[in-house]
Symmetry: C2
Subunit: 323 residues, 2 copies
């Protein structure tokens, strides 16, 4: 079958037409892929910046397609396990080490296959799973969002942050955002965010946020680093901050006094449980939320698609496997 294969890190992705088709086995189902989407994870793996890389492999965590003629999307989290609070040691993400969705067919556990939300086309449905479940778990399962919350979402240019914003706005929460890019901030305001602050242009970005929101009930962050300590101080009594990433590295100084006196909750979140995934799909369908698509490429131009995605913002780069 046609597939985008990562044989070795030196040569990078290669489009082939003779990759062996997956063979079904009990409890697993072959999905005929229509669209796949690129995640940061895929890009990092091609650059060798990921733990436990095993090659050759077909990358791709996000997929929409057909099973027996029925339109489906795939939950990319495999072997989460029985505990909704955390993943099992066996947990892994579709597309390394398991062959992923940049191919005509992908083999996944049957339990990971869900009906495609009706309001989404196949491109949009493929852009949803990984970012959607990550945003959902961070915001609701871990962050416990309620509609009366004042929510701050940092780095709104990111795909997960952008979806988290759409989810939070759909519930009616009061949403504030940060970015280093005014275009992303303007987009957020158009969608209903209350305030956007450019942390690169505004040294005292935390003071600006404090002046407008007074304090936050919930912060959703994927950066960590030095700004994290300022985010903590923006939390109101009983406030929560959920980290789903750490692109700025370790937090250089954190005061226990602020944490205990304000009864704060600092939480981590990664991917999501099967329940998180099905709850996310239900919410996305109910509020007719649509992920943003930045560009689409045919599978044969996958390498170009990756180059585009590596420089892109929150908008997903979709690979159309079958028109």
């Amino acid at each position: 079958m046609k597939a985008l294969v990562l044989k070795d890190l030196e040569h990078g992705l290669e489009y082939v037409e003779d990759y062996p088709r997956p063979t079904s086995k009990p409890g697993w189902t072959v999905v005929d892929v229509r669209c796949a989407a690129i995640n940061r994870r895929d890009i990092w793996i091609t650059k060798g910046m990921y733990a436990g890389i095993r090659l050759p492999v077909i990358l791709g965590s996000d997929a929409s397609g057909y099973v027996d003629g029925a339109p489906v999307v795939v939950n990319p989290g495999l072997d989460w396990g029985d505990d909704p609070r955390f993943q099992s040691r066996a947990f892994h993400i579709l597309g390394m080490p398991t062959d992923g969705s940049f191919a005509e067919q992908v083999l996944v556990p049957t339990a990971n296959i869900y009906p495609k939300p009706k309001h989404l086309n196949f491109q949009e449905a493929a852009a949803l799973p990984l970012a959607g479940v990550t945003a959902w778990r961070a915001l609701f399962t871990r962050g416990g969002l309620s509609k009366s919350d004042r929510v701050l979402i940092t780095g709104i240019g990111g795909g997960v942050a952008h979806l988290a914003m759409k989810f939070a706005l759909a519930t009616g929460a009061d949403v504030y955002v940060t970015s280093s890019n005014n275009r992303h901030l303007e987009k957020a305001l158009q969608l209903g965010a209350t305030l956007g602050v450019n942390y690169r242009e505004t040294e005292a970005w935390d003071k600006t946020l404090k002046a407008h929101a007074n304090g936050f009930d919930l912060v959703i962050d994927s950066a960590g680093g030095a700004p994290y300590a300022r985010l903590i101080k923006l939390l109101d009594f009983g406030g929560r901050i959920v980290s789903y990433g750490g692109t700025l590295g370790p937090v250089p100084s954190l005061s226990p006094q602020v944490i205990f006196w304000k009864q704060l909750n600092l939480m981590g979140s990664t991917m999501g449980s099967p329940r998180d995934f099905s709850d996310m799909l239900e919410f996305v369908s109910r509020y007719e939320i649509v992920p943003d698509i930045g560009a689409t490429y045919p599978l044969s131009e996958g390498k170009t698609a990756f180059e585009y995605a590596a420089n892109g913002g929150h908008r997903k780069v979709v690979i159309t496997v079958k028109d």
Copy 2:
């Protein structure tokens, strides 16, 4: 009435016999104090190391005594407010700015008065409230202790830590402790702790704990500082760490990756709600838990009692107001 008064920080505590008795007012009740107990807070205030010191004042947050002949203990947390998740802005602790328990009588909100647990004498009952409610909230309300948990309690020489250990052992949890003092570790093992590690003698104290417990479900800490990052790494997936103090100051480096990948929960806790206090008393009565007393002094020797307490360990220094 007889009282131990802090008139100014230069002269320190002064024992007087002519302090005006408190006058009752609607919603408040005068307690005839039998015993009071010294907390770190009292000592810090006498040294000027506390925010918003207002003088003159009678210190003392812990009290047992009588109301209309009935034996009582006092909840030292005033004006917690309506939300069980965090204290209101009006929240304060008995004994500065409100006159406290180092006196023959103390005026407290009637709702803060509870029947004395029957299995405790007045000395023991006076040693319980502040440390007890702090330990309770950290361990149960915030930490969500369950009896199948592996729990690590740091600085077991501290009064709150010691009570938290007794509470955790009463539920049947698997309890590990740390201290810089082998005497405290031996005492913990006698009471039922699984392992005690001296972090001053053992540079790789975290490796020792890891080797024995594998990972922890819950850590209770009042130090923060550099060891905090090591405590985080000792947590198992979904683990919780509750901070109720920060004697070692800011945490110098904290990795977001560990927090999000393991779905961790880093929480702060201070004092406790009225519900925390009554739940704590019920638990202490059910399991007949007794706080340790290190020494007792009459009110007239309060100054000496403070000097003793400043150098003491977890055992409470009690001031007997009336024999």
